[in-house]
Subunit: 367 residues, 4 copies
């Protein structure tokens, strides 16, 4: 809310009160709204989000997904057995934040999710389990614990579970942003995925997931989204480990003491994996407390392993493996861990950076 | 809405109905929403905007602004005597479209509007009148009929009317987008503008408003927003006239037969004037009918002179000088004019282009 | 040359002298050259250009061009009656600097220069006279005193003099750079220009030479070179005048006290007019002395009006209308004027900026 | 050379011959050169390079380097025991092509090369041997067969051989381009490298050489050159192998049938490793013949393993492990291999692409 101004506030001559009310009625009849009665809400001194800091517990949502597995089929029309995190400040909409969708998706043994495509950008992150392949424009992509898997906008994709165990994972998309901006398109594909093979690595990875190398056949093409369909845990884990090892030897690389972090990037540009979505992995060494950080834009975190105490605005939670929590725009975030913690994070930051609306503050000092 | 799929829709075994309802209740208790019941609304086959095509008549809104002039003071706290166009599809919010604010602002003779700044990007467009100077970061900018005047984000600005006549104009901002994305900051400035001089041209224009020239002292700096604070009608008018003259001599330049248009640009980048706002001027020769065009993103038009018949989706209106109308995302637009028409347009297109979400279709054929 | 190192220099054991000479002969036979004997020349501590500071006097070169007018026809094969400034440090090559070509071109009354195109980027600058139209891809462009006229690479162009007076002007191109890098292509066109009309403004100007405006029909296209074929003196003059007027009122805009300057830019990008060529106009107020400036890359200046004393490295000249002088890379430049001076400048700076090799030093302090 | 034009060539009236000769003498006296006598050389129809296709044999140059090892010390002043390939078309200058330097560098057992820095961009490529660490801004980088190692401009660097065997490798730099453009700076550093440790991986690799990952602490910084100091053979080899394996399964990825290739890139931008240098690795399957390709700009190849028959312009050679050959601008190149071949390539292509002068033709058809 806008601060009460130091200057005397506006007073309207009492004799005009009736005229003013008549004016307001006439505004309303003509589809008009005055600024002066709304400005505090419309133009706050700093972001004042409706979305609330909130946590969803893996031990609660996973059993609900399992129940859905027994009751709700996956098929054309419903498309996916995905259950969205609905931020309590957003009026019941299935939006984790104003811009971001986060859902748990569940696939029963030997089950298929039909092929479709949409302009919304999507990814999957796997906190546990394996056995599902997502087939992206015909390329089968294995999903395993720790992997971060891309489905950039307008690529046909379906999933199938080749194992005898169910599998659950997290879907992240920019559905709320696309909905708000009325910018999305959707198309059905075949009912079944076209390639049921189960390679350990997708063809896209084999071409693109080499450090600092790109195929000459595609060199110079700058694609909106990353051509790497799968970012494997082994690489993420190693990169995080190296940052902490370098720190211990006295060299730079970590974000702050005890805090390693990598960003998933599009190798054709060095920028974020998709135009609207940032994804990162954070590792806090045992005994670490992060600085208090606030930034324009919203984030969702999922604990991958370990435990942390997380403060977001005036909320504080202890979070554990699989738990998801939301950091609304400009809410201060700090994390503390006793025994160490690994966290996956995704955010809408590219929207703000591309529109030059980004702002970050760490420990009260602007960066 | 999503099309009813050709495949049989999902049927739930009746014995599970009670279990399903229990599941949905438990979802709700845990802050979860299933995708499969919402997907048609969340992921439509094409944009399905809540905002409606709508027109506001100058002959209605100007008298309301005048009445406000007699009843509502302008001062610190209320900040501006601005009355916003509220799209009837947006639940009473003072938003012309999901992203754009459009308002009529009214300043009485010899009146001041106090200085403030905000990260929201703003412009003014003058359909009639003169006598007000807007002072942008200390630089006085005259406002005259046909001029397009910028106040990019985070610049201090106030207005003052030096004449004995009131003046009304249109304000355009990205307030709804900033509000939705929780990205805006606001700050009060001095109560009065610092420089009450009334030059015909601002200092910014004197430095920057020369065709194809930039000051060497700033050369190479690429600013987010245009350094040109005022785009004068004489230049806009001449550029439009030249396009039609070239067309008559058989040379390219117009958008389509009989349809000239210029875009206001940031000379340091060749891109739109501000990161979230596009502004253009269109001129239709007498007897012209435009192609049917739809694009992702929303626009507001104001008739500057002449008359046209405008079709937006299933709506059709005849519009006249000062009238404003809204084109929601992906709604087909066509315009016809008997005697010719000049229109100012602003839109949120840069948001979509920067995020690679732009899509345009003309007469059914994708461009 | 490389500085004599503080450490003792290398001494070769005398008994090896013969073996060393044999080795050097064997190097030579195998097409090899050792670094250690050449390093001072190859890798100097700072740029050590072969090109020399030099001046060419208008009063000398114009009469020579006139004599050529009487002796040398213009036609297919020779293509142009252009006489190049050959830097005395560059071994007789017709290169003003290692990268830049500068020539006086002369067209007799009613004479034509045939149509061709080449990938080398070209411009013309007119220090006096008029009556010639250059026809660029079919668009006739009038040439008048003070105008700066573009022929970006690979555009067909020819010239014709419609008047009863001869006309001379300056051509600038990147011929030496294209030659050195073996990157140029050339093609003959028709013997005569296709459009002999003589409009005051070219079609390209009518579309593009409006401040801060671009045609919507081409909006969003970022062209390598500027679509503005002619930058007219009236705009350049006004922009320079405004900078000095703003300075007198206490506002920023000039490069340094008494020194106004504008750069010609490509309005589709805000960058230089062509990928390899920068062009600027400088005006020094009476009594001004510029700072000493050195930069990587070379420049050619032509005095447009007035007089100045120019120091380049250890050279100093008094220059007058029409005189041309060269500033090699990293040579310090300073200019002093008693009664004021206007100068046109072109340079190869975009090459260095695009390759991140640019460096500038003003008065000893890096900028 | 320019084609003889179809139109009659220019004939000069004989009576003017003396006057013409006098004119040419006066041109010369005034530092002027006419275009019309030089145009064929200055503006050829297509690139007509002075540099010649040429090959240097490893079996010849390695023994010469060894002899230099016994005769020439490495120390301050001479700086490096590097022996440059001098293109026979370039007048004895130590330039492999007009823009590129290629040299064999040789370090005796336990020998050091002193620390310096220069704005010229450098890399090393190792065709055989190991035991040397190059220390780049204090970070020790191991050099092993197949590795491609960067020293971007202005980084202090020295080398030291920790083994009891000598080591030779190839240096590539843009020395000729920097020299021609007068753009280079050079600075001595300490006589010895600061960190004599011998880690298997450099700190830069540990931070940056992970596929699709970047440290959050540096995310968003776009550096001119790659932060990856070493591109290891194991990754290059695997990426090439995957392309050929994908081809055999019927999937895209190779440049053309039987021809795999990767480009080394800067992960912060997805562009070439350094602003002036492209580096690639090519693998031809046994029995492959490449298309005939010509491009603007020059290249140097070194055979890493296997054998090929290489045609460049009118030259043809059979090349073997370690052999180096040069492809001048616009010379057609084709390669054939019986048993398969691996080749390292570097080129000046980024210069042309950044200046929009690039052009490629494959098998006569423009791409």
């Amino acid at each position: 809310m806008i601060r009460a101004p130091a200057v005397p506030s506006i007073t309207y001559p009492s004799q005009d009160e009736a005229a003013l009310q008549a004016l307001y009625r006439d505004f309303d009849a003509d589809g008009l709204v005055p600024l002066w009665t709304e400005i505090g809400d419309l133009m706050p001194e700093q972001p004042n989000p409706s979305a609330l800091p909130h946590v969803w517990r893996w031990r609660s949502i996973l059993p609900l997904a399992e129940r859905a597995g027994g009751l709700v089929p996956v098929g054309r029309g419903g498309e996916r057995r995905a259950i969205a995190l609905a931020n309590p400040g957003l009026g019941g909409a299935p939006h984790a934040t104003p811009t971001l969708w986060a859902a748990i998706q569940y696939l029963c043994p030997r089950e298929d999710a039909p092929v479709h495509r949409h302009t919304q950008h999507a990814f999957r992150f796997v906190v546990e389990g394996e056995g599902v392949w997502t087939v992206v424009d015909g390329d089968p992509v294995a999903m395993r614990r720790g992997d971060f898997l891309l489905t950039p906008g307008w690529r046909f994709h379906g999933h199938h579970n080749v194992s005898d165990a169910p599998m659950a994972w997290i879907d992240g998309l920019d559905i709320p942003f696309a909905r708000y901006t009325d910018s999305a398109f959707f198309e059905f594909g075949p009912d079944e995925v076209s390639d049921r093979s189960t390679p350990a690595r997708s063809r896209a990875e084999r071409l693109w997931a080499h450090p600092g190398l790109c195929p000459v056949s595609s060199a110079g093409e700058r694609t909106d989204s990353s051509p790497i369909t799968a970012y494997r845990w082994e690489h993420t884990d190693r990169a995080l480990g190296e940052q902490l090892a370098l720190e211990q030897d006295g060299y730079p690389g970590v974000v702050e003491p005890g805090h390693a972090a990598v960003r998933f990037i599009n190798p054709t540009t060095g920028r974020d994996v998709m135009p609207t979505v940032r994804a990162e992995f954070h590792r806090l060494r045992a005994g670490t407390r992060t600085a208090v950080r606030r930034e324009v834009g919203s984030s969702v975190f999922q604990v991958f392993s370990g435990t942390a105490t997380v403060g977001v605005g005036e909320h504080e939670w202890t979070v554990d493996r699989g738990d998801l929590f939301v950091v609304p725009s400009w809410q201060p975030l700090t994390m503390t861990t006793g025994h160490g913690v690994d966290l996956f994070r995704f955010a809408d930051s590219p929207i703000f950076e591309r529109l030059r609306l980004d702002r970050v503050q760490v420990d009260g000092g602007a960066q």
